[in-house]
């Protein structure tokens, strides 16, 4: 009897699995992620040389790019694990993109090593339009630290542009950013601020704040945002920095108080929270997420992919996710040229700040 039950269960499981595969495009992409990337990735190494060889002859022969592009799965390499903001971003925009192109958009997380292995893997891939990388400030920072050559990225589209805030915990004596600045200017480095990741975007932002406000805060890096949140709630750190999305529950329940926003304009949901700009502190850095090909990719692929993304960001499947995280305010879609310009100016800003902070190489 028990064997029967078990086999019935297994059949049921398989049926559900099959349903998931056929019923929903995205599920197909995600299930493939773990199973296929092993084989895909191991074969890539052998084919790299061949592919680049054909690439060269194609270029020499002046042959046109594939006309039915994309005709198979497009992989998006990123340096963050499942469940992180970038992974969710790829999944969210991947759904409408798959709908539009009829091809799967698969995120591949190459984690660890501060994002260097992810970039290395990406730069080793052929420039055939089937591998993109989800890039953000981390790639700019790794460039400034001399770990990767970010000029090899060929920007396609910047999709998200987030805004972050300084928060204090429930027992904090600071109710406004003015009080905070006053204390910190008199006692530089006495107040601690929890951030996520070492020598990452958060630290650069706080560093820039320290340089421009002279209200110096001591940075304490945590491995995950959850740890930094627990530390500020428990009163172990005085402040923390984070984007709006992950803090939403704590803001709404009143556990944390946002003090200052880093953006050009105030957030409609937080009318009372001033921007740093209003206080004459020019810090508007924001975390952004976009897609890039590798230098040398055919312009036609770039244009096609941008058209797909342009259509996908209007899709309710994506916009609902965007709104959940309050990303709709600053997230103006930038095309290849504008994104390139933005990317270049980011590289300048970060290199400059990191040099002043002794973070660059």
């Amino acid at each position: 009897m028990s064997k029967k039950v078990l086999s019935l269960l297994l059949v049921g499981l398989l049926a559900v699995f099959a349903f998931a595969l056929f019923g929903c495009g995205d599920d197909e992409t995600t299930t493939e992620e773990t199973e296929t990337d092993v084989t895909v990735e191991t074969t890539t190494d052998d084919t790299v040389t061949e592919d680049t060889a054909t690439e060269d002859t194609e270029a020499a022969g002046g042959e046109a790019a594939e006309s039915d592009y994309p005709s198979r799965t497009v992989e998006v390499i990123n340096q963050f694990g499942p469940g992180g903001g970038t992974d969710l971003f790829i999944r969210a925009i991947g759904m409408p993109m798959a709908k539009i192109t009829d091809q799967s958009i698969v995120g591949i997380s190459v984690t660890g090593g501060g994002g260097v292995p992810a970039a290395t893997e990406f730069f080793n891939r052929p420039t055939d339009g089937y591998t993109m990388m989800a890039i953000g400030p981390e790639e700019v920072i790794n460039h400034a630290m001399g770990r990767i050559d970010a000029t090899q990225f060929l920007p396609v589209a910047r999709v998200q542009y987030d805004q972050g805030l300084f928060f204090v915990g429930p027992d904090s004596e600071y109710e406004s950013v003015e009080q905070l600045i006053e204390f910190a200017r008199e006692n530089p480095g006495d107040l601690s601020i929890g951030v996520t990741g070492a020598a990452g975007f958060d630290e650069v932002l706080v560093g820039l704040w320290n340089l421009r406000s002279e209200a110096e805060l001591e940075v304490v890096p945590f491995e995950s945002s959850a740890e930094a949140q627990a530390a500020v709630l428990g009163g172990h750190t005085d402040l923390m920095y984070e984007e709006y999305g992950p803090m939403r529950a704590l803001i709404e329940s009143g556990e944390v108080t946002p003090l200052v926003l880093f953006s050009e304009e105030r957030l409609p949901v937080l009318e009372d929270v001033p921007t740093a700009l209003e206080l004459d502190i020019d810090v508007t850095l924001g975390r952004w997420r976009g897609f890039a090909f590798k230098e040398g990719t055919d312009q036609q692929y770039v244009d096609t992919m941008f058209d797909v993304i342009e259509e996908a960001v209007e899709d309710p499947l994506y916009t609902s996710v965007e709104e959940q995280n309050m990303l709709q305010y600053r997230s103006e879609l930038l095309g290849p040229d504008e994104f390139q310009e933005f990317f270049n100016s980011e590289m300048e800003t970060y290199s400059d700040v990191m040099e002043q902070l002794d973070l660059a190489q």
Binding site: G235, T237, E252, Q324
Partner: protein
């Protein structure tokens, strides 16, 4: 609360589909847990888009069941093949595999299953009754306290070195040292990378562990240093433990469940740390610490009860504060927000039915786990009847794909291979592996939190020690270290 349970029970009973999802979730979780490289986090992440077609409650009940199942699943492969299927099961290898080797695979699996269910139910009940105070406990833990907790776990090394205290210490320090390679978690610069950027990835725990346990065991078997035959000479007993045998472990189970629940609530550490600390404590309080590592029942019950209790613990900050208590719950938060639900204290007020349905689901999942677990484990155990010529190479393939699938990072494969060789060497030279692993797991937690605590306390060690929880834990560590060495010295004198 009772009212919440009543309405949630009504909901569950009127939607029997929930039970089907629950069963599927548990099986899915156990299979993901049992396969190296496919952890509970991956299992949950893969199901999230799939839950879009369900009601939020149905989706969350299923994800909770996956979480519960995956936390146990890892111990199946840990016990049968010395290949922990998930990091939280790594500690179970230490005694589970030796017991299976003695021909008592069924006993080991049954103990793991029973302890997991008991720990899981304990953790869930604690979550239901004590979420607010437990959340306060979690918040009281700052960097100083994390540091002290890790130190407490590390000092158990002194009690573990059964054969030679020197060998245990050398292995422990080796673990602590190796864990420092890679990117400095505080400054972001490379450490001990010798200018080689691929070393930035560092020695991460899972590839190291799979190399140390699984690969070195395959090497030893092939090299003929381990018993050439299959476990217990080809006969695999799937005899399950009797109730009496479980009852004999009640104190270990209770202690480990409490430790697991408490550590589970801490966002900075998780089920893996809970399992190791609880193992350390089991060794420390045992009358026969020298039996650990040879297949003692306590060595299986302690980590398994703790890692499943940590599941309930990890849900505490999620529900009470809206902070994920573990990587898996972080992925679940992503799923919740897509359903338009914001996790946090307001959830209990606004979505009572949802919260209590999840509680009921988790309790049922732990019971279902026993039923499903026995069957799945029996099928897995059949693999042991195959000649090792087939099993050995399959383990190597499975480990390789598993380690790679986890992060798609080539360097992890190199780490695995190197640790396979290291493990073989240590095995040959009769060094205990437990201290090395404890060093690898707890070392980074101790290091990074000590440095954070130093920054926060203006580099004043006295301030760290004078914090009540941190100071208390450190004092306990010091006392146990002294006692541990004294005990070792005494047994050494006796044997001479």
């Amino acid at each position: 609360m009772i009212e919440g349970f009543v309405s949630a029970s009504e909901y569950m009973l009127s939607n029997p589909f929930n039970f089907i999802l629950l069963i599927l979730g548990v099986i899915w979780g156990i299979l993901f847990g049992a396969t190296p490289g496919l952890t509970g986090v991956v299992g949950v992440a893969l199901l999230i888009p799939f839950t879009f077609v369900f009601e939020p409650i149905e989706g969350l009940v299923m994800l909770g069941a996956v979480y519960v199942g995956s936390t146990f699943g890892g111990s199946i492969s840990a016990i049968l093949f010395n290949t922990p299927g998930s990091p939280e099961a790594s500690c179970t290898s230490l005694d589970g595999y030796p017991m299976a080797k003695k021909g008592q695979a069924g006993m080991a699996l049954g103990l793991a299953l029973g302890s997991s269910a008991i720990g899981g139910i304990f953790g869930t009940i604690a979550l239901i009754l004590l979420a607010p105070p437990l959340a306060d406990f979690a918040l009281a833990f700052g960097p100083s306290e994390y540091f002290a907790l890790a130190i407490l776990g590390i000092t158990a090394i002194a009690s573990i070195g059964s054969k030679s205290i020197w060998k245990a210490l050398i292995a422990g320090f080796l673990g602590l040292g190796l864990a420092t390679v890679g990117i400095d978690p505080l400054t972001g610069f490379g450490r001990f990378t010798f200018g080689n950027d691929s070393l930035l990835t560092g020695i991460s725990f899972i590839p190291a562990l799979i190399g140390l346990f699984a690969l070195s065991e395959v090497l030893a078997r092939v090299g003929g240093t381990s018993d050439g035959d299959l476990l217990g000479g080809g006969v695999v007993s799937t005899k399950l433990p009797r109730l009496r045998e479980v009852w004999a472990l009640r104190i270990t189970l209770l202690r480990s469940s409490v430790i697991g629940t408490l550590i589970g609530t801490l966002p900075g550490v998780g089920a893996t740390t809970a399992a190791f600390i609880s193992y350390s404590e089991a060794v420390r309080w045992s009358k026969k610490p020298e039996a650990f590592g040879t297949g003692t029942p306590e060595g299986i019950a302690a980590p398994e009860a703790a890692n499943n209790a940590a599941v309930g613990g990890a849900m505490v900050p999620l529900l009470a504060l809206g902070i994920p208590g573990s990587a898996t719950t972080a992925v679940m938060i992503g799923g919740l927000t897509i359903h338009g639900i914001v996790p946090g204290p307001l959830l209990l007020v606004q979505n009572k039915e949802l919260v209590y349905s999840v509680f009921i689901g988790m309790l049922l999942a732990n019971v279902l786990m026993i039923v499903a677990g026995i069957h799945i484990a029996k099928y897995f155990a059949k693999i042991l009847r195959l000649p090792y010529a087939y099993v050995g190479p399959s383990i190597v393939v499975l480990c390789t794909t598993g380690v790679f699938a986890l992060r798609s990072n080539y360097f992890d494969l190199a780490v695995m291979a190197a640790f396979g060789a290291l493990g073989f060497l240590l095995l040959k030279l009769d060094y205990p592996l437990a201290p090395l692993i404890i060093g690898l797991v707890l070392g980074p937690i101790a290091e990074v939190n000590l440095r954070r605590a130093m920054i926060l306390n203006n580099f004043d060690m006295i301030e760290i020690i004078s914090r009540p929880i941190a100071g208390g834990l450190l004092l306990l560590s010091a006392l146990s270290l002294i006692y541990g060495f004294y005990y070792q010295y005494r047994t050494y004198r006796k044997t001479c």
